[in-house]
């Protein structure tokens, strides 16, 4: 396979593709985010000791957890949206609505999860 890239990352990102392109970029970022998360988990257990503890502290922190949970929920729901559009191309006509529906699911699910996480954190659990 030859990689013949003519367009730089920044030039590509400057293209104004709008919502669906952003969803795709976010899908990639959250996918990579999950890989990093799992890799950190494995590395932490593998190394143990001070480094292991340091890594654990990072990914157990509330901010990191909030980010990871968002990543998982977004990646899952957006992935399902793409699967549905791929399996039933007739729905592609409604792709704009499908993006709305997606956020309609993500926001309450994530909002609720984040609420529980933050309140537990504040309660010192």
């Amino acid at each position: 396979m030859t990689l013949d890239r003519k367009v730089g990352l920044l030039a590509g990102l400057r293209y104004k593709g709008g919502g669906p392109m952003l969803a795709w970029i976010l899908h990639r970022i959250t996918g990579l985010g999950m890989i990093v998360f799992i890799a950190l988990h494995v590395i932490a257990s593998l190394l143990g000791g001070d480094i292991g503890i340091a890594i654990n502290t990072v990914y157990q922190s509330l901010y990191f957890q909030l980010f990871v949970v968002f990543g998982i929920i977004f990646h899952g729901v957006n992935g399902l949206r793409i699967i549905v559009l791929d399996l039933w191309p007739k729905f592609i006509e409604y792709q704009r609505e499908s993006t709305w529906l997606e956020w309609f699911i993500i926001l309450p699910v994530y909002g609720l999860t984040a609420f529980v996480m933050i309140s537990r954190f504040l309660a010192g659990e």
Partner: protein
């Protein structure tokens, strides 16, 4: 009204490199972006180079990036632009030859690769090859392509790898794959079932937004994907 036109410039024969030139022009709200480019070329700087032919959205030669999205210069009115500063750049993913002119060779190579012509080896009937209105309407949308390359050059998969066959070629394959009179659907699906074929499409929808003929490009690609996966034409 006054419009600022910020145009990408590149001349391989001078050493100024890639840069932008800004022109301040007097324009009517109903002028098209193409009119602005013509105004520069005819009255300000004759070296400005761009393609255009019909000026009526038919030939597909003036696809460029206007304020960050692919559009035909001859179909965008000044009054429809959100700002009074208009940024004009060549379409992405193809080598720039001069100013707004890009090398379309890779684009047409992919187009040719999908057998974009009618194939039927049966002896031609005495009259026409009949087709019902329903059969004709099955591929009506994809007959509208004017090969302007707006869709292919808006596609991140194509930016990443020029070997990707691209939405436009798939649209043109779709036009014949779903034609009831054609006999080479299986062959075309085989060509597109390749590592650089339809599955490089990640359903990003830039192509559908970019198409000046309002073809449901992503839908056509989706239908071809499904036909390959199921082996059936629906």
């Amino acid at each position: 009204m006054e419009v600022k036109l910020k145009v990408f410039r590149y001349n391989p024969e001078d050493d100024e490199g890639k840069h932008f030139d800004t022109f301040t022009l007097e324009a009517e709200p109903t002028d098209r972006v193409l009119d602005l480019l013509e105004q520069v070329k005819n009255y300000v700087d004759g070296t400005l180079t761009f393609r255009r032919s019909c000026a009526h959205g038919v030939c597909g030669s003036d696809a460029i990036r206007i304020n960050g999205v692919n559009r035909l210069a001859c179909k965008v009115l000044v009054q429809d632009l959100k700002s009074k500063t208009v940024k004009i750049e060549p379409i992405l993913g193809l080598e720039v030859e001069k100013d707004l002119v890009v090398d379309m060779e890779p684009f047409f190579r992919h187009y040719k690769s999908v057998l974009p012509y009618f194939v039927n080896d049966d002896p031609p009937p005495m009259k026409e090859r009949l087709q019902s209105p329903e059969e004709r309407s099955r591929f009506d949308d994809t007959t509208k392509c004017i090969l302007c390359a707006s869709c292919t050059t808006s596609c991140p998969s194509f930016w990443i790898n020029e070997e990707y066959v691209g939405p436009s070629a798939i649209v043109n394959a779709h036009r014949f794959i779903y034609d009831s009179r054609d006999q080479a659907a299986a062959e075309r699906l085989e060509i597109l079932n390749d590592q650089f074929g339809v599955y490089r499409c990640h359903t990003i929808f830039n192509c559908t937004d970019a198409c000046p003929r309002e073809i449901e490009v992503t839908k056509a690609v989706g239908e071809v994907k499904k036909a390959i996966a199921t082996g059936r034409l629906e």
